[in-house]
Structure formats: structure tokens, C-alpha cells
Symmetry: C2
């Protein structure tokens, strides 16, 4: 029996979780893997903060380059995050022939092609299960378990912060600011929550999933992204009256020659399992031609759930190393020469159902004016609700539409917004009766 | 690029699905695997039934032995089922150095040790993702993704027939016989539904999961099994009044030196995600020390979902073959010399909450007599409900208990059954507030 040497870059929360799990479960891993994993280095610029993990003498260093350049290190785990030094170190590790594990979704979403090509050229593994869905094995399921399927689509709740905030707004009727404050207090939101609440984090994950599901390169900028900051208790309440919940969904659909990839608040029916996912939990529904729908559900983030996914990757790589089978599963799901570039449908071309909320002056003829304009653009209304008068004298008019083209909706909205009888900017929420995977 | 030769044993529903998927998705599999899979043989005793799958000339044969003995065949897929000829053929294939894929849960649950030891000795892979949970990647998740975790427990709905029947009883208030008839009509129940409705199929799957989760040999006869034939609309209705649903659960808990492994109708809270799994769908909740809870959900059976899992296994094995990495993941999750024999707790030792329903004569003092007997055995009552009088003059008395020992419950029941004021056999349903994984 031999032992593999592991070097960890980054000793923050998740890095500390990885170190702890590698140390605490060393015996179990050996019993399953048939060889040992030794945590040779943990590199971090902060050598003083106590992370509650007992490292052997000499393991904690402040020199990350030493980790990626030490010929004895077999596997490098990157837990630094961001697109700067993390990228440089990963590329250096690959150049030195080391296997790499990362959870860095932003980096993979934006620079994945460069990193994967470098790893393919060098013939090393670059594993990233922890980058999407935390402990849920979404990458392994897409790359391995569903290999016989044409993936038709995916719909998922992939950001615990947003789901926590939306759950609080739904359950307590508080507004976005208050719910965000509660999320921060509960430790579910970062000091700067922009990446989460504006939908970018979800979009990073969607870019990775879309690439793996269809064997395509994804330009991150092609993904339509809308966050949850505009969602009000009023909209959540109307949604509920129509039998819907509002979730921030990552949606991907395979149209063969084109794919959809979009992130936005989405109304889904109460009966859909995704609508029951509450609090900080994540879930991903994958639809395949053979498999039907399969859903994964669990903690999408957090110290130990993420560490669990990272250690799964490390053991996978160790299994490859011990058998000389590195590169056994192609990094991007398809063989490198089979990866195409399928265009992503722009949001203007999107055809779906919509929820509209207009705030209008409470006077006769308004509804007829608005529905007239919608009609001009071919947008037909499925149902309308009008609620009690606001103190300002303005009332909300709420509509669900039949399927309509987003470009037409935007044009109609510009006309409607300009009406004298319309106060405030109209609200629009896209609706997916099948949780994003029809 | 080379091509691997695949031989399929059994051309029934699932076998036909596997053949169809291998043929229809050949190009996609090649793009991902980097090599081709050729379906060289399909063996079945029935050469005449049209399965809707176009096989090349000479592929369909009636001689299964030719498949397992042909030196050109690399991978044998066993889709015959049962414990007779299937076992003989698998052992012969292994003896000939072939890799094997099977979905045969009954065979693995009862003869797994012999088969796995034969495969280990010969150094071949024996894959069985499709044996549990159909398309849900439960085996891969347990063996690979969660490798860093101590598995604390599992709770699952693993039989679509039972879940369909219980859903119909719940939704329509019909009795078991009627619901079974509807399941048969809808194609969800076999001509002989015993294996399903008596809980044996679920127990076969639980035996496999328990073995993989904890690295232990499981004697199938040690698993406590109770089916759903005694469940009445009345009990489902009472359960609902207490805020519970009734599901046939596979439950496994890790107590370190002992494990629980049991299958029985179980009351779980409405808020638990497992209680929302309806119809023929399956779900498995796995609890690990790092991961927290992770749940998989999807079609637990059916032609193409099962075929999807089989093809996933075939590709996994092909990846190993192409890299000389056969045996890369130990068949039973742990290295063969690390597999122990952890005793399974007998049902008498079980300590849990219970639902009781007694049918009693509507006269004073009955409740006091019953609760007195329960008290003698240390069983304390959490809540009691009594419903309207039955036409016979007997009324149901329903109770939820605090935690009690099953042996005590059984002793108390024998005393209570013997009372003159008690009609019918009392009903007992075990209750799991955490869906079986606390």
C-alpha cells in the first residue's frame, strides 16, 4: 500500500472543512480506497487564525507556490476562490503534472475552457464536484450516471442564500431588505451579497452544468441573469393565489441546435417538488430521454457538505492515479474533440408564460387599454386579478399570460409604462409550469 | 479507437430497453466514452415476441451460454432476473473473466457475498446500479461521492408499486384490494404482486444499501419486513389528522457496533420531503456526518429509467477496461478485507414512536384499561383520538406513543388483544419523525 500526498491551497471555512475531513476520516478513506492520503501542506496567507483543525507540525505554510511546485505533491486542492491567484496556481499545478480539485465555480464558468484544455494537454484530472450543488453529486450524475441519456433540460435551485431569502419573504411577508438582513444574521449571506442575490453565483453553476450536459462551450456572458432584489411580498402573495411559488431558478433546455440557459425568479406550481425546497437547501432536477426526471437535493453549500464533495473528488483522482487511469472520465463529459459550440438562445427569443403586475390608477378603462396593447403584440391573457385599493389611490392589476415571446413583452411593456394611468415600473416574472424542464 | 463487445442476457421489458438504449445512443456514448460499444448478442428463450427493437442479423440467439463463453465478449449484462439460471450464468461469466452488469436485487441481496467474492478473486467488475432505485444513482453516490462520510442512516421509498398503492388509498379513500387492482390495471403491479406488497423487494434493496453504506455483510433474513396489505384508509385518515403520511419505508441506521435494517409501513410528518413523494416514484434520503442529508428522487423502475442505469454501469466498466483499471472502485464499497459483519438489531429491540389503533366496545373504562396495560409495560401515550361509533357498536381508539421498546409493545398487545372489550386485531404503525434517518 502506498500513500498519496495532498496539498491544500486556502484555509478558510471550506478549506478547513476539507482538512478536517481528510484528517478525521483518514482511516475510513484508507479502508475504502486501499491506500492512504496524507495532507502534506495547507497553504494560507493567514497563519494565525485558529480554524479548529489540528495540523501536524510544518503542514501549515504561507507559500502556496511551494505546494504546486513540490514534486512530492500528487493532488492539489484549490480552496482560495476568485479568478486571480487561484487561476495562476491551478495552471502552475497542471503544468507540473499534478491532479487538481477545485470548488471555484466563478473561475470554471469564465475560464473553464482554458483550464480544461491545459489539463487535457497535460493529461491530468481537474475535478470540480463541489463547484455546483455542494454535497449533491450533480457533476458525477451528469458525467457518469446519465451517460446514456440525451439531456433534455435542467431546472434547479442552486443558491442557498437566495432560497433562504425567498423562503423568509414567503413565510413572513417581510420585504427583500429585511429578509437579506435575516440571512446575513443567520450566516447565510456574505458581507457583500451581490454575487448571490443578483443571480451570478447561480449563473456560474448553470454555465458549468450546461457545458457538461450538452457537450458545449458556454460563453458566460450569453446567460441571461436576473436576481431576486425586485421580488416583493405582494408578488409572492399573488403567486400563491394563482397556486404558484417564486424561486430563483437556473433553467437550461436543450433544443438541439440551440440551448436555453437563464437565471431568473420563476413562478412554479405548488405541486412541483422544487417549490417545496425551502430555506438554504438546493435541488437540481435533470430531465433525460431515458431516465425521465431525476432530482438531487441537499445542502448546496457550507463547510462540511462542500468538504464532502471535495474529498469525493480527491478519492476519485486517487483511484485513477493508483491504476494509471487519469483522464478516465473526460473532464467536460464529452471527449475534447466532440465538444461543440451550441448557441444560447437570447432572452428576446424566449417563449414562455408570464406573470405581470401593473400598478395603475383606479379608473375605468385602464384594464382595457393595457390588454389592448398586449393584444397588439400577440400577448393573450390567461387570467387577471385586481386587489384592494392602495392608499395612494393606485391598485395592482395582476395577469398570467399564455405563451408569449419575450421581445414582444418588452415592447408592450415600454408602451404600457409610458401610459399616464400606470404608476411605478411594471413587474414581470417568468413562469415555468414544469419547474424549468419541459 | 477500439470497440468493446457486449452480450445481453434476457430480452424482456428491461432487457429490450437496454438493447434499445445501447443502439439508439451509440453515437453519444462513443462521443463521451471515446470508444464504441457493440451489442454482439441478445440471448432469450423467446425468439418470436417483437420487442420493438431492431437488432442486426444474428444478434438475437436462444443460447445464453454462448454469450458467457464467447471469448470476444467483454461485458455481460444479466437481465433475466431470479436466483436460478441468472446466478449460474453470472458465475460462469465471471469465471471466464468477463465484466458483469446486473439489476438483480433479489440475487444480490441473498447471494451477493458469493458473487462479489468470485468477482474479486477473478479481478472483474460486477456492477449493479440498476438494482436499487432504478435511475437514481444511489450506488454510485454511496460508493463514490460520499466516500469521506460516515453514513449515519438512510430512509427511502424504494418500491413504486407500494408507493402507488398507498398514494391511491390516501387520495381516494379506497381499500388495499381496490388500490392493488388499480395498480395492476395501470401496469404498476406484477401478476403476482407478493414480492412488492409484502415488502420483500424493498428489503432486497435495503440489504444492498446497508452493506455498501457501512461495509458489512448483511444476512437477508435478519431484516425485519412488514408489507402494506394491512393498511386501511381509516389509518391513513387518522395519520393525516395527526399531521402524518404513511409510506412503506426502507430504514437503516448506523449505531456503530449494531445497525438497524427494517422495512415497514411508516408514519412520517407531512413536512418531510419523503411524504411528498407520490405515485410510482422512488426517493432515498442518505444522512452522512459531513454531507448532512442528501436526497435522490426519480423513477425507481420502468424500462428506460432502468436501462439508463444499466448503460451507465456498462460505460463505467468500459472506462475501466480501456484503462486497465478494472476493480478501481471496490465492489462492496470497502476493500474486501475491510468488510465486517455488524449485527442487525432485532425488531424486538427497536425503540421508536408508535401509532396504535384499537377497535373497542363503546363502554366506560375501556380507555383506562388499555392505557393501564400500556403503562405496565412502560409505554406512555402522547395523544389519543376516538372517532365516531361504527355500525357494529365498536369504535376505533387511536394513540400516538412516546418512544417505546417493541418487545414491550408486543407484550402489551397480547394482553390487550385478549380483553373482552377489544374487537379485531389491534393495528400498529411505527413512526419516524425524521423520515427514518435520525
Amino acid at each position: 500500500m502506498t500513500t498519496l500526498q495532498v496539498g491544500l491551497l486556502g484555509f478558510g471555512t471550506v478549506g478547513a472543512g476539507v482538512a478536517r475531513l481528510l484528517i478525521d476520516s483518514a482511516d475510513r478513506i484508507r479502508d475504502r480506497l486501499g491506500m492512504g492520503l496524507n495532507l502534506k501542506y495547507v497553504a494560507d496567507i493567514d497563519l494565525t487564525t485558529d480554524r479548529g483543525v489540528r495540523l501536524a507540525a510544518g503542514v501549515l505554510i504561507d507559500d502556496a507556490e511551494r505546494v504546486v511546485n513540490d514534486p512530492e505533491v500528487d493532488i492539489v486542492i484549490e480552496m482560495i476562490g476568485g479568478e486571480g491567484i487561484a487561476k495562476t496556481l491551478i495552471l502552475q499545478a497542471i503544468a507540473n503534472g499534478k491532479q487538481v480539485v477545485t470548488a471555484n465555480k466563478a473561475l470554471l464558468a469564465k475560464h473553464g475552457k482554458e483550464l480544461f484544455q491545459a489539463a487535457d494537454r497535460k493529461g491530468v484530472d481537474l475535478a470540480f464536484e463541489a463547484s455546483v450543488g455542494g454535497c449533491m453529486p450533480v457533476i458525477k450524475t451528469l458525467r457518469e450516471s446519465l451517460v446514456g441519456n440525451r439531456i433534455n433540460g435542467m431546472g434547479g435551485i442552486l443558491n442557498g442564500t437566495c432560497n433562504y431569502i425567498l423562503s423568509r419573504i414567503t413565510d413572513e411577508g417581510i420585504d427583500f431588505r429585511e429578509a437579506l438582513a435575516k440571512a446575513t444574521e443567520a450566516g447565510y449571506a456574505e458581507a457583500d451579497p451581490t454575487l448571490d442575490v443578483e443571480g451570478f453565483d447561480t449563473a456560474h453553476k448553470l454555465a458549468i452544468l450546461t457545458s457538461l450536459a450538452y457537450g458545449t462551450e458556454v460563453d458566460f456572458d450569453d446567460i441571461f441573469i436576473e436576481g431576486i432584489t425586485q421580488i416583493t411580498p405582494l408578488d409572492i402573495d399573488f403567486a400563491r393565489q394563482f397556486g404558484y411559488r417564486i424561486k430563483l431558478l437556473a433553467i437550461s433546455k436543450n433544443h438541439g441546435d440551440r440551448v436555453e440557459a437563464r437565471v431568473h425568479p420563476t413562478m412554479i406550481p405548488e405541486g412541483n417538488l422544487l417549490s417545496t425546497i425551502s430555506g438554504s437547501l438546493n435541488a437540481l432536477n435533470i430531465s433525460g430521454d431515458a431516465v425521465g426526471d431525476v432530482m438531487l437535493y441537499g445542502h448546496g453549500a457550507g463547510m462540511m457538505p462542500t468538504a464532502s464533495a471535495v474529498v469525493g473528488d480527491v478519492v476519485d483522482i486517487a483511484r485513477n492515479l493508483s491504476r494509471g487511469a487519469t483522464g478516465r472520465v473526460p473532464l467536460r463529459s464529452f471527449q475534447p474533440d466532440k465538444i461543440g459550440r451550441i448557441p444560447i438562445v437570447s432572452v428576446e427569443e424566449l417563449v414562455t408564460h408570464y406573470y405581470f403586475r401593473f400598478t395603475v390608477k383606479d379608473q375605468p378603462g385602464v384594464l382595457s387599454t393595457i390588454s389592448g396593447i398586449l393584444g397588439e403584440y400577440g400577448i393573450s391573457i390567461q387570467s387577471v386579478q385586481q386587489k384592494g385599493r392602495k392608499s395612494s389611490g393606485a391598485v395592482p392589476v395582476v395577469m398570467l399570460t399564455h405563451r408569449a415571446r419575450e421581445a414582444d413583452v418588452q415592447k408592450a411593456f415600454r408602451r404600457i409604462e409610458a401610459l399616464d394611468v400606470v404608476d411605478e415600473k411594471p413587474m414581470l416574472i417568468r413562469l415555468e409550469d414544469n419547474g424549468g424542464i419541459d
